[in-house]
Amino acid sequence: MSGLSELSILPQVLIDGLTLGFIYAVVAVGYTMVYGILKLVNFAHGEIFMIGAFAGTEVLLALQRFGIVDGVNPYVSLLIAILIASLLSGFIGVGIEYAAYRPIRGVPTLILFITAIGLSFILQDLVRMVVGLAKGTYLVNGVELFSGSFAIGGSAVITEKAIVIIAATLIIMIGMELFVKKSKWGIAIRAVSQDPSTASLMRININKVIALTFFVGSAIGGATGVLYAQYYSTITPYIGFLLGMKALTAAILGGIGNIRGAMLGGVLLGLLESLGTAYIGPLTGGAIGAEYKDVFAFSVLILVLLFKPAGLLGKAVKEKV
């Protein structure tokens, strides 16, 4: 392949990487928020994202059956799907916290981790069973709301889908920033993350704050699931697992507990994957193929962590004695 054609696809590759990266970013925020407040990695978060994807898809399929999708503006249909999916995901998140994590709060973190992993598997198979009963296979093809595209200079094409996803995730991330920095509850969340005992002395209801954190984190995860379903058009109960792992890694890369770090880490990871797929093959003359893109992306991540163990935006936390 000539060097020229390799460079010419760069804008497109970057756009694809950004779109994927923004998806990772929002899911990473969900992980980082829960970690910040409970020092717990909620492994089931990837599955909440997946449940959001299924909920949104089912809503759209139902809307389509009633002819609503063709009748109204696709943005309205998307909004309906996102609202329902995020509410559902939010409540499931809160339910998980109350039923699985709260009763064992205070036990060694390892036990919490294993509970979370177990929950992750339960949710995957639960969704698979439900979908399998209805359909025979667990693959669900969704409703495509946006099929337009725009050419932007050279051979780069940006699809309407990508624009919607980038816009929506940006709105979510800006909303999160404002919520956490400016709103009363957001400040409460930060307070509890920093120092739970002192926060409770300030009459902050710890349990309510934790429940809210789970709700918000899960809701945005679910909303992103709907966007993911729009991007790839086809979903399975297992999309949450690998994506969740990657988003978690992105959150760690950015500094676990730091929301802006999670966003940065997510975007970075998406770009690395996209660049890897595009250029590993041509650069190594075919010796290493695109199937190693994950190896490439994670290697870079490991390298960063070697030099900055607290993550890109993380700060080493001083232990107050």
Binding site: S5, I122, L126, L139, S155, T159, T236, A290
Partner: protein, 407 residues
């Protein structure tokens, strides 16, 4: 608040229970199909010796439609012959297991199959990777295997005496696809292969022929079988100017690949093998994108064949849906198995034959004519009478249209 929380706990607990029940169902035999035969034998007052045909195929998972279709083909053959075998003094049953397209599950299932002494033949099999893993177990137990759809050529090169297949192989499917593209006047191609045994094997055979024909391979990439993101690969393909893309893999992944290719405004040919020969491909890729899809197939034209139409009607009556690509080949391989078992019974003076006896007779199958297949096994277990066809989804509906037969 308290009420809502205990509700949450109940829901969680209930779902755990459901999963536990659901999980244990995943791997067990579909005893539902065995009961009609079992019921008829118990009504005769004494338990007849049991002969079982076993199938191991993907009954759940992304490619389940293909697997269920194959199991149904065998089931049809079994149901039609239950009475015949009763008159010979045997209770004919079907034992069907779910390999979930996973080699580890396939191996575990294989072990339980060979331990069931009533199982005389193993049929079904759509996933070459799973069969590769399970074959050593079958071979060691002398359990004959007749495969309808596993096309990886390596399967017949291991020297397994119990391996037989009625379908063609990728080492003809791949080259035929390349020849077809070349005959259409296209030289610039891009190859993408799923890294499982089927996808990679098919793409390798395709590549060899493409190089031989002097085609310009602009890119050759492998992807993980679970990969769903093809955006960047599609960008590369469109930028490379390739006029044909060859995909080695199954329909769930192939469908997503084509969908994303189409989103990137790719308008060339999309060529593959039988892995995409399923309605699921059309659903996932969306019908408007499959106009330029062609694939090499070992599957003949069922609905344009008079015998095939009769059989398809039988299938529809039994299962309430149209047969897929491989159901009829599974049916034909079951017929081979059953007639071989019958011959073994008579050779054995009416007694239950051993697996070796059945295997020997199966291996000698020559000039067998099934609904759609002609079968003569060579000493490696391959079907020398298998033909390849080129089909297309031009019409946007399933089943595909056959446009050519390659000799």
């Amino acid at each position: 608040m308290k009420k809502m929380n205990s509700l949450a706990i109940l829901t969680l607990g209930f779902s755990v229970m459901l999963t536990a029940c659901g999980g244990s169902n995943g791997n067990s035999a579909s005893s539902g199909t065995a009961s009609p035969a079992a019921a008829s034998s118990s009504s005769s007052g004494e338990a007849l010796p049991v002969i079982k045909l076993a199938t191991q195929t993907a009954l759940s998972g992304a490619n389940a439609e293909m697997g269920i279709d194959v199991k149904n083909g065998v089931e049809l053959a079994v149901e039609e012959n239950v009475e015949r075998f009763k008159s010979l003094g045997f209770d004919l049953q079907l034992l069907s297991l779910d390999d979930k397209s996973d080699a580890m599950t396939g191996t575990t299932n294989a072990k339980s199959l060979v331990n069931d002494k009533d199982v005389l033949v193993e049929l079904g099999n759509i996933y070459s990777s799973v069969l590769f893993a399970a074959m050593p177990i079958y071979e060691e137990a002398n359990l004959p295997v007749i495969s309808a759809a596993t096309t990886n050529p390596g399967l017949s090169r291991e020297g397994w005496k119990t391996f037989h297949r009625v379908s063609g192989t990728d080492d003809t499917q791949g080259p035929d696809a390349a020849q077809f593209i070349f005959d259409e006047g296209i030289k610039d191609i891009f190859i993408v292969a799923s890294s499982d045994d089927y996808g990679r094997g098919l793409a390798d055979e395709f590549r060899k022929k493409a190089d031989e024909l002097g085609m310009d391979v602009l890119g050759n990439e492998q992807v993980d079988p679970q990969e769903t993101d093809f955006n960047t690969i599609s960008t590369r393909i469109v930028a490379s100017g390739a006029k044909a893309v060859f995909f080695g893999g199954f329909y769930a992944q192939g469908g997503q690949f084509l969908k994303q290719l189409s989103d990137k405004k790719y308008s060339g040919m999309f060529v593959s093998g039988d892995g995409i020969n399923d309605n699921g491909f059309l659903e996932t890729a969306r019908a408007e994108n499959v106009g330029n899809v062609y694939f090499a197939s070992v599957v003949g034209d069922l609905l344009n064949d008079p015998e095939g139409q009769v059989w398809a009607a039988k299938y529809r009556a039994a299962f309430g849906k149209d047969p897929g690509a491989f159901g009829v080949y599974a049916y034909d391989s079951a017929l081979i198995a059953l007639s071989s078992i019958e011959k073994a019974i008579s050779d054995n003076g009416g007694g239950k034959p051993t697996r070796e006896q059945v295997n020997d007779i199966i291996s000698l199958t020559s000039g067998f004519e099934g609904i759609l297949s002609k079968v003569t096994f060579d000493e490696k277990g391959d079907n020398v009478d298998a033909t390849n066809f080129i089909k297309t989804f031009k019409s946007g509906t399933y089943p595909a249209e056959q446009i050519k037969a390659m000799e």
